[in-house]
């Protein structure tokens, strides 16, 4: 282990982080062990696994896993590694299966992880089936369809870990369109970047950058809608919020909600489809659908790897200290009007994905940060904005700052240091 990884507390101050937090492979290895194995990690939306036998492969930190809904309807998270000689037992991204077979030596596991088949068992050491089922994560819980898992058997119940502050924001996000249930789209944008995962962690909850990093997007929208809009303002009603356990939110709703609806009208086929929607659902519901179509207008961050933004679920997937995949999966209205779901996808494509008008410019900034981190004359990055001016919220679970404050980033790094300590709880 590197010296830096031996003393992670030296890498975080009250309002900044040391550059090696993004660069040191030893720190990354320790994060995989102490963050991704100690706390709840977001896995998937339950609508990705609707039938018994449905599975998808994923990772927790860098450990390969399979999420699978067993024949008993229970979603389990199994380590995707044969207990014999370590080959993965499931090589498909998703599908439906009653069992998984390691194709190296033919060991076969039922979809609840039980080892049920070992070829030529007469030469096998005793009780192999009892001893060597796929490793099942000890904890899998979900909140309103968001499935989390943990390697840590002692992690508190999920809802207690989340707490009332961020749960209120998760609810607002999930109730974004007339409170109707949401369903995950089967397709997902996945972007690979040569940058550390925490740059996305910070950026998804950053209400300061949008007007600058995404100026070209706002310019395009201004030209198309005739309305001048900047994302952030210093209105006191536009807030950044820190909750317990590194969870946070930014809530610029009062400044950005109406423009979101205006942008919908610039989408392909918008005129025809909105008219068709109005005819289908009537005037009152039409206004409700239109308001909810572009999402809740808030960003919700659940430490360490889930962000709820726009109409999508964003999952941060660290691969190594300087490689990360970010997946953004749109949510549609379950059984909702076809025109609404069609326009939601177009709205999402406008900003997000590898060729969107917004998200790629965030990734460019992450890579520019990576180059800047090569400098050793100034080793610190600063999250000072609004420090000391935050106010406690009414619920006792919230610290409130202005939307451009670095309240969320300070909150995230408080949790980072709490988890990285040698004998941390969850």
């Amino acid at each position: 282990m590197s010296d830096l990884a031996l003393h992670p507390e030296a890498l975080v101050s009250e309002d900044g982080v040391h550059r090696e937090i993004y660069r040191d492979p030893g720190v990354f290895a320790l994060e995989m062990d102490r963050i991704f194995k100690r706390t709840w990690v977001f896995m998937a939306h339950e609508s990705e696994l609707t039938s018994n036998g449905d599975y998808l492969t994923s990772r927790i930190g860098t450990d390969p896993v399979v999420l699978v809904r067993g024949e008993d309807g229970v979603v389990r998270v199994l380590v995707n590694r044969c207990r014999h000689r370590a080959a993965i037992v499931c090589e498909q991204p998703a599908g439906n299966a009653k069992s998984f077979r390691c194709q190296y030596h033919g060991w076969t596991y039922r979809n609840d992880g039980q080892l049920v088949g070992v070829p030529y068992p007469e030469r096998q050491a005793p009780a192999v089936r009892e001893r060597l089922g796929l490793t099942a994560l000890p904890r899998v819980e979900s909140y309103r369809g968001l499935i989390f898992a943990s390697f840590n058997p002692d992690v508190p119940p999920l809802t207690e870990h989340l707490g009332p502050g961020v749960i209120d924001y998760i609810d607002r996000f999930l109730d974004q369109c007339l409170g109707l249930p949401l369903v995950a789209h089967p397709q997902v944008h996945r972007i690979a970047m040569e940058a550390n995962w925490k740059l996305q962690l910070e950026n998804g909850m950053d209400g300061y950058h949008a007007g600058f990093t995404h100026r070209s997007f706002f310019d395009v929208m201004q030209r198309r809608t005739g309305a001048s809009v900047r994302y952030a303002s210093s209105l006191p009603t536009a807030t950044a919020r820190a909750f317990r356990n590194g969870h946070c939110a930014i809530d610029p709703e009062t400044t950005s909600r109406k423009p979101l609806v205006t942008r919908v009208k610039t989408l392909p086929e918008a005129t025809e489809r909105l008219e068709s929607l109005r005819r289908e659902v009537g005037e009152d519901e039409y206004e409700g659908y239109l308001a909810g179509l572009p999402g809740a207008g808030i960003n919700v961050g659940i430490f360490p790897n889930l962000q709820l933004i726009g109409i999508h679920i964003r999952r941060i997937e660290p691969l190594s200290v300087d490689r990360t995949v970010v997946s953004v999966r749109p949510l549609l209205i379950d059984g909702g009007p076809e025109d609404v779901n069609w326009l939601r996808l177009r709205y999402h494509e406008l900003f997000y994905g590898p060729a969107g008008f917004g998200q790629p410019d965030d990734f460019e900034m992450f890579e520019r940060v990576g180059t800047g981190l090569d400098d050793s004359s100034d080793e610190w990055l600063r999250f000072e904005r609004g420090r000391g001016e935050e106010q406690p919220g009414d619920d006792g679970d919230t610290l409130l700052g202005n939307v451009t404050d670095e309240t969320p980033q300070r909150c995230q790094y408080r949790q980072w240091i709490a988890l990285m300590a040698p004998a941390s709880g969850a």
Binding site: P268, W342, E349, P354
Partner: protein, 178 residues
Amino acid sequence: MTEVVDPAAEWSVTQRCAQFVLDEAELLDQRRLEEWAALFTEDAVYWWPMDPAQVVPGDGLNIVYDDRARLLDRVSRLGSGLAFSDEPNSATNHVLSGVRVLRLEQATPLSAGRSLGPGEHVAVARGLIGRNRQGNTDTLHARFVWILRETGESFGIVMKRVDLLNARDPLPVLTVLL
């Protein structure tokens, strides 16, 4: 689509379409983006799907799905100096191979759910696109499909479809035109 039965006439259409799409790629590689955008018709679609089996652009999640207005936005953003993921600009090098013009029965699954009108042709090619930016060069692999509409001496692009070979994998940032 007019069914071309005369082999000489068919060959002539293929040659004209091939010349057109090579000229089109040249505009991209010379970064003459506004001239490039002007090749698209008012009802055009510029489309990069994620699923090679997808027929209709709106039926799934896409990497790019532009109507003409959005395409002009895209070009304008790239020219603004503020599309930071393309600053400094990337340079591209399109290598297109074997441009074919499809007969009607082959063309239908590739016509984006449109009924082909008179004077419209469906052309297909495979391509490699080299991309250089900031000291890095990568190679994109794609199948291209065009619906081209006769305009007299040339064509208008009614649809351009780009199926990236790795469209379903994690992709790098693609602030670029293909």
